[in-house]
Symmetry: D3
Subunit: 131 residues, 6 copies
Amino acid sequence: MLSLFLNTDGSAPCELPGGVYHPAQARLEAEPIKAIIAKVADNDDPDFRTRAILIKEQRSELVKHHLWVLWTDYFKPPHFEKYPELHTLVNEATKLAGASGTKGELDAAKADQLLAKIDEIARIFAETKKA
Amino acid sequence: MLSLFLNTDGSAPCELPGGVYHPAQARLEAEPIKAIIAKVADNDDPDFRTRAILIKEQRSELVKHHLWVLWTDYFKPPHFEKYPELHTLVNEATKLAGASGTKGELDAAKADQLLAKIDEIARIFAETKKA
Amino acid sequence: MLSLFLNTDGSAPCELPGGVYHPAQARLEAEPIKAIIAKVADNDDPDFRTRAILIKEQRSELVKHHLWVLWTDYFKPPHFEKYPELHTLVNEATKLAGASGTKGELDAAKADQLLAKIDEIARIFAETKKA
Amino acid sequence: MLSLFLNTDGSAPCELPGGVYHPAQARLEAEPIKAIIAKVADNDDPDFRTRAILIKEQRSELVKHHLWVLWTDYFKPPHFEKYPELHTLVNEATKLAGASGTKGELDAAKADQLLAKIDEIARIFAETKKA
Amino acid sequence: MLSLFLNTDGSAPCELPGGVYHPAQARLEAEPIKAIIAKVADNDDPDFRTRAILIKEQRSELVKHHLWVLWTDYFKPPHFEKYPELHTLVNEATKLAGASGTKGELDAAKADQLLAKIDEIARIFAETKKA
Amino acid sequence: MLSLFLNTDGSAPCELPGGVYHPAQARLEAEPIKAIIAKVADNDDPDFRTRAILIKEQRSELVKHHLWVLWTDYFKPPHFEKYPELHTLVNEATKLAGASGTKGELDAAKADQLLAKIDEIARIFAETKKA
């Protein structure tokens, strides 16, 4: 029903996937960050803001984790050769989910930039799946 | 680009989502379990099997976790009224990812049943999104 | 000395328990939530409140987790048949520990309701142990 | 209903408990270790043994964690003065749950010794509660 | 290049280290706590303080964990005999990273005391390595 | 006493470090992997091997995590400009700790290559500290 095109299919028979690789995972965690930042903008209750920051911290960490897994476990040297911007792209995306991005700030623009970077990575990911 | 229809959109302005809710998350973890069981069937190397069991354990736990989050945080009383089978369906799916299912066994049929249950839950989830 | 009546005793010889099942685990995590909410009510120091919310978040997550494990790994179809309210009871208890309950709010009444639900589950659990 | 006598009651109003303290928590994790070792003794299936070792590893780690929390967060200098054997007792118990104990071995005697040590700690804990 | 003198070298051939043991691990987590407390002293922004408390909580937990691992897995009975203050030293250090120390407070003196205790433990650790 | 040169010192006053950054962290986790592989080479006991694979899996994951944190949170665009090999170096190191490296295999050469890569990263790290 869902067509997720997991990359476990194409792996060698002797190799075990240690995780799941799909940019949707990073996006699923990044979308609530954007929603949380929007809600906090309209709400001055300190307890509410505390919980928002707490959840945002966890979601941002998960975004970073999913992108790291993609970068290390999914993308291979031929991908980095074909897409020379890929290293910088993933590095910038993870920074946008870090202390200078959605983790450390409540800035809607940072959340949008993070989502845009994830979509760029997803586009490359989709191309490598077709190849 | 990806259309994930996160449920954070419809929440009340004063409520903060504590997690992400989408059946795709459970499916993303369940698909590798099926792949791992297939690989182990063709491989008698004990170290290989050990690592397969280890990964299968982690994936199965994540499947359970994602289904639990859906059941508690996404589905609301009106959903359970409209879909009276929903409790049993989620309970059976989590059991299929547990000690008597993919966690405790290397049985391809159990992995298929788990994926089928997740797809049933995903179908109900999709209907509740349209409503 | 402690009489915990763990359910590992009754399991089939070929089955391995993947966890521990006892409602005391959920109660042990829920009681501090009640205590935390009481302390925060008397204290306006923002740093104190921040830490209280942080701990309450973790305890609430653990309450949910312990209840989920009971629901999936301990309770079996005959239990759900004998106690038709059990699904709803566990679902409501986990919701009371979630974003609309003790996780998202600082409401002493929610903590009391959560403890009451855990006690109801514990009563059913104790009955199934005698059976 | 359950009488767990949590130590959150007696804490100063300005102090927040960062966790739960009760020897029952360590015992709840140690009992399945004993059960697992018994089951493995009767079962030569390598996949079964692998999963048993995996679960035993996790349970042992949790036993250690709960004992550490008791030692650091619950027991105070007057307790260590009154019970001069307490440091050694907790240290030995955690070692019995470690690499030279239930974590690293499948030795039923080690599991029994671990349970006995936990019961000794529980007896001291109960006395400090009455004091 | 780095000379970390890991204790895995000296273990018996049949024993597997379940973790890493080096006081540097506790220090690596304790130094940022000191830095965070200093930054918070100069900053009244509530969102900034929330995140500082959140990070401080995580770092303090890691300090405790690394010290516990040392106490249980590295130090052996002959060490406790030779250094009779060692139990109290590690216990006090973990308390200084707990609810009454850097976890529960924003007190630079507590962070300094914690670092001093870690250095005392590191000194004993270094001596046991030479022995 | 220990001179760890944490990078928290040089951060802007308004920025909070979300973690610790030092290549020693990755090395501390990678050294036991090498030791474990050596011990397994001399030991055919299946239970021993199972536990070795389990620990190796956890250590390898931690190596990856520490390297990812360095890559995202410590290294900045000027570093990547000055050391154009840095992206590939960190990517290869994390792959050496992954499914095709120490996580998926019991190959002493892979552990040595991983340690060598970590030392290369540590050398660059040390240079950036002096700059």
